[in-house]
Symmetry: C2
Subunit: 443 residues, 2 copies
Amino acid sequence: MARPKPLSGFPEFLPAGRFVENRVLDIVRSTFELHGFAPIETRAVEPLDQLARKGEIDKEIYVVRRLHAQEGEADELGLHFDLTVPFARYVLENSGHLQFPFRRYQVQKVWRGERPQEGRYREFTQADIDIVGQGALAAHHDVEIPLVAIDVFERLHRELGVPPVTIHVNNRKLSEGFYRGLGIEDPAQVLQRVDKYDKIGPAAVTELLTGELGLTAAQAEACVALAGISATDESFVDAVRALGVTGDLLDEGLAELAALIRVARASAPGRVVVDLKIARGLDYYTGTVYETLLEGSERLGSVASGGRYDSLASDGKTTFPGVGYSFGITRILAPLIGKGQLTASRSVPSAVLVAVDAEETREASIAVAAQLRSRGIPVEVAPKPDKFGKQIRYAERRGIPFVWFGAGHDDSVKDIRSGEQSAASPDAWTPPEADLRPGIIAG
Amino acid sequence: MARPKPLSGFPEFLPAGRFVENRVLDIVRSTFELHGFAPIETRAVEPLDQLARKGEIDKEIYVVRRLHAQEGEADELGLHFDLTVPFARYVLENSGHLQFPFRRYQVQKVWRGERPQEGRYREFTQADIDIVGQGALAAHHDVEIPLVAIDVFERLHRELGVPPVTIHVNNRKLSEGFYRGLGIEDPAQVLQRVDKYDKIGPAAVTELLTGELGLTAAQAEACVALAGISATDESFVDAVRALGVTGDLLDEGLAELAALIRVARASAPGRVVVDLKIARGLDYYTGTVYETLLEGSERLGSVASGGRYDSLASDGKTTFPGVGYSFGITRILAPLIGKGQLTASRSVPSAVLVAVDAEETREASIAVAAQLRSRGIPVEVAPKPDKFGKQIRYAERRGIPFVWFGAGHDDSVKDIRSGEQSAASPDAWTPPEADLRPGIIAG
């Protein structure tokens, strides 16, 4: 077999990159759990008819079939392309065993048969949180989502140096109520045009609204004025009111968004921004919507998004409304790891290499390694009884900070960075806390 | 959408089951790291021609293709059915960036289009460790594998009550050398029959060897006598010698296996058993082989197995020999979780429910929750400002041990198991360590 080439769109990391990813996933999962989200995992495949229901995306589905499927055997399964469709199915399938509101998180790979390009992958990891009610779900749950997101991103920033984010929020009720208050009958069409605001600018959006949708200049200008409003506090309410539009749905949206920004601002001033041009174009959201921009990588687009939906699933009798948010783990990490901006201090977990004096005394080194491991210290034993210098170079190449010499007869440990060496007992010696695990460093 | 039915062969767990699985995976991964194995993950798909090379298994492959693939577009990808084929490809692809011997672990789902039955799944999680050399890999690495396995299974037993295991080891050089010493020319044929020893018994194996392979009665009896040898120490060497067969390959196998059992016995007496009937039938192993039996579930067969192979991969110039071992995580866990033998003390991560007095004061509860979380305590805020009794029942149904009342004005916390309630400060109060995370309990 000649050296194989990477498959485009299927990113893989060397061990140092995987250490970074694992640290990120530990932070993500433990933060989700601090907020009371329970872990689940669903199978990789769903019935094809369920996956294909989501219109727009069906061309990107990977179909799965047995290599030796019978002639005429129908394609029945596909790889999930997000974690929402499987979660909806899981909720219906298990609703009798779940307590509602049900708060779950799910960190898994998803697959899309897209043409690979920067920031787009065919296999990537998503980390989703959702809160789902049975029949109803109170509006205040929408406020919880940005609190979790802020906690995750602040830890990623503080502990790993991932750039900080701003979370942009809007509310579909607000936009739709406003458009209806202007006498517009198809708000979805307006939302789709407003969604291009960042790309094409306000003047071009105005043109689309008048040209394509036939809005009056006054209507179009009001829509674009609304889209231009942003604030990090409740002042956006006055700005919207100043446009002179009224209506119950608008009021409801304003109240929900005001409650959200009030709590978010108290928790992390400036990190959450009311941004009334956020539309999340074609998605099925019905209230709050979230997008997240990574500072310095705004051109990647939103790296984490979500919103409120009236119905995640329904079994005919009961509807399950929810609010959710999805972190694009690969989208955030693959560029940082790929360009070496985040890496690990070593390529192995081992904090210590136990040297071997001679092949006949390997068992003494194995015994020292076992003693160190029993106290939680990651260790490997040298593969060869080389000269001391060679054993040190073996450690150096992997970034292992300590080498243990004289196992079982004249035990000592050397910090190969400082060169300092001192007598040590395998029952008592412990490396500094910071050396116990590979550190994550800016490359 | 009517309530969907589970897909046979694709096990999924409720959150309590997933807590169990996550604890097991934490133990597995952290033990691998204590032994110096570095984490990697590979994509779910491999080129179909690479997957199909392993003859016997090709009927079980799931092919993956885009739903809207062009007419005539060849099937090129399949889901991996183990973690060895992808790892071999990864080593070749990245050999220039890896340090050898390369010790890696990999915990991922694999897929096989098998007919589902007890202990067989179409999607399941494997946890693999391998040590791979470039050109050569010293025999002493074979001893490391059972040490890791013992550490994993002892922790699973001690911390979670998973039944203990015995690891059965043999060495192909020993068997093959012995057969050749008897004048047998096709040792692989003999191995395949000996592999049935446990199922059909020694007499039936003798018959197969004489009837199907045409061995003499003396040859067949010697082969069966060899298969009957087992020991937890080096005494097996004398038992083999007593059969009167000699040869260099036999000596090499005896020496390797003796070294392995000597070290394993010193580390965990009785847990590793030399068992000369272990053959691992059709696999490509060339030296040491491992099988693992779960006490009380022996009929499940081996839940973790592996061995030494002369060539994991080769790029024409360089060969990569290795030794590896694969834990069948789903095979071990799905029955224990499914039958309720292992479950979690609660269905949510939350240790505390912060009650809400009235919807207007929710923000005070959110603030208390944030303070508790900042000190690592998993918390959720009550979804409704219910009467105290209802809030306690909300916690009870989920197994949350503590309810926080009077957020921000008259803070107190109640242990709903004992009924004990006392004043508490969100800046200082901490639950007992054992209540911080869901416990894993025998159901």
